[in-house]
């Protein structure tokens, strides 16, 4: 599995990220780092506790990482959630979060598969 096919699997734009960061090694490093990021957990727990402000920041961070890594699909859903939370959160939050969760899962699966493949 190449990094490019990993990107394809998660609905992300490999050419775009490569054109900005200019090195496959760099992209790979940060893609793998994405797995260690705790923002999604923070987002879920903050929403569960009704802490909109913290949830907004967590969603915002996810959105920012996605922008940097050109994770197009997850970026789209996290942006929608971020904007809703920025305005204080509406009744759409639950549905928006479900979409983020689905995209996040798909992303993490693709990266994990890429990381764990035999040499």
């Amino acid at each position: 599995m190449t990094l490019e096919s990993c990107y394809a699997a998660m609905g992300a734009d490999y050419q775009d990220v490569l054109s900005r960061l200019r090195s496959e090694r760099l992209v790979q490093r940060f893609v793998l780092k994405f797995l260690d990021d705790k923002s999604f957990e923070l987002l879920r727990s903050s929403l569960a506790q009704g802490n909109t402000e913290e949830a907004f920041r967590a969603a915002h961070t996810i959105k920012g990482m996605c922008q940097n890594l050109s994770f197009t699909q997850l970026e789209r859903s996290s942006t929608a959630l971020t904007e809703d939370l920025r305005a204080g959160g509406s009744d759409r939050v639950e549905g928006l979060f479900a979409q983020v969760q689905a995209d996040y899962a798909r992303t993490v699966e693709a990266i994990t598969a890429y990381r764990d493949q035999p040499e």
Binding site: R20, R29, R57, H60, Q67, N68
Partner: protein
Amino acid sequence: MPAGRGINTQQEKILIVDDSEMNRSILADMLAEDYEIVEMEDGVAAVSYLRGHVMELSLVLLDIVMPRLDGFGVLEAMQQNHWIDDVPVVIISAENGSNQVERAYALGATDFIPRPFDALIVRRRVVNTLLLYAKQKRLISMVEEQVYEKERHSDLMIDILSHVMEFRNGESGLHILHVRTLTDLLLSYLMEKTDRYHLTMADIALISTASALHDIGKMAIDEKILNKPGRLTDEEFAIMKTHSTVGADMLSNLPVGRDDPIVKVAYEITRWHHERWDGRGYPDGLQGDAIPISAQVVSLADVYDALTSERVYKPPFSHEEAVAMICRGECGAFNPLLIQCLTENAEQLRTALTRDASETIKRTKLRGISEETLRGEGGGVSKRTLRLLDRERMRNSFFASMSQTIQFEYTRSPSMVSLSTWGAQRFNLDEIIMNPFTDRRILELVGRDSLEEIIQKMAATTPEAPELRIDCPLHYDGMARWHRVILRSLWSDDEIPQIEGALGTVMDIHDTQMHLMELEHKADRDTLTGLLNRASARKRMEMRMGDSPESHYALAEIDIDDFKIINDVYGHMFGDQVLQQMARSITGSVRSSDICCRAGGEEFFIFLEYRTDIERTIDRIFKSLCFTYKGRRVTVSMGVALGEDTGLDFDAMYHAADSALYAAKRGGKCQYQFYKPDMAGLLEDRRDGSVHHSQHTH
């Protein structure tokens, strides 16, 4: 100069503030190659780091949305603490709504980098911002250095003068320092109070410095009168009073510097510091504002300090007593405005004098004001003052940039060179360089040949002739510019003096040097054709023959046939064009190392070095010099002399070539002749006038 990439400058430090570890890493990765990176994960951490390290930082990259304290909060803190004046902030954020950007700019952000990051954009913006600030910082420190240096010199002069005066006048050496401090303060208060005297900060500095000279005339007064403990007789007092005119004469009779502003001000002070506001003073009985303001202020400062100091004939009065006596008019008559300045600021004046008067706080004051100016806010300083200060700053930087002079000092043991701050920055060097003669950066700057010349010439200096001067190109910032290096060696006091080191200056003379070289080039050349003229061609030929006398040389003298006809029939303009075309044909037919010359009129010559078969070469050259120009056939006659026939002597070769040329003309023109000994008589015939050859003119 690429910011932060210079080999010699230490790496610039960038603070990255972002709550996302990934964002920080991406940025750090993009920049780590060229900069030192510090990372902070939120606004609070950033502010606490800034508190201790702001002066080390070159740039802050700041995220907006962060927990605890967001980017705007950090910007506000930076503004409150004035850190934003020293460190530029570039905002990085996905928040590109225009009011967010606007708010960040309003809070002092310098630039904005949008997310997602593009490595090229990030690097370029960082470099741009650093460049901008580096330039500003350089300018500030340059101006400060210049002004400080100037002050240090004048302070030193005043110290020396005070001590001399102390010896002579039996006054406390502090008197001159006190007068200076008082003058400075009184003038500052006066400037706040009124615009009447059009005082600038520069004027105040000038007047207070010149105030040190107010009693210089006392040097000429007999010591017996000067230090007489009792009361002076009328006659003695009359002599004493001459010190003001004597002092003024000393200044106006100076052989140099009479027109210098400081000498003019010193003249006013020296001559008129005993005038009175009511016109009853001496020597000229000036009244009111007919007395220059400089003299008025020094007069008051002088009286005040005399009252509060101990003298052979009186104990010191307290500050309050002195002020009261002056106000009651017991010690002279003064400008009421100045009296106001004195009474209204009595407390500050007293503190200023009780402090060690020589310890002025000019430098901090200067820095403070320049910061205020840069921030563009008035604070306690009026707009007018700022404008004046601005002008002073401009003047200083102008003079600094005009003089282009850089000072340095060399010590032999330990072997090191210290450069002025500005000089170090100019040449991208450290201020202190150990073992300069083997230092790679010095070698790159000066070049091996020049460096060796300097070492050699320095070794040849003596205590009697310690100066040496070298013009050489210096290489920095990717260019080579001509500089003049002047060194003065310093010698030990030993019986056999040893060089201990040297003082030096470096001056940029590039433009002058280029101009000179251009003039030299012009002086060497014929203006119409650009070929060498006769004198310079001769010089070069002689040099060539002297350098390698074993080579074979030929001199070909060329004369355009019937040039007079060309000129007469087609006009001088056409004639000139033919000459220019001939010059092109000549240079086109020889190697660039050959010497081509227009000797005058339509006469040219070529000096060439050859190995074998000079006949073929000459034949080829001759053919290329006969051409058709704009329908007109142009031909030449040519006489050739070989060095082996005539000897390597310019006159001999030229004479022989001339004879051969004459033979060619006589043979019917449009041909060439090699010199043969039997031609020697030809020229003499011509000179006798027995043979006329109208075309062969000079």
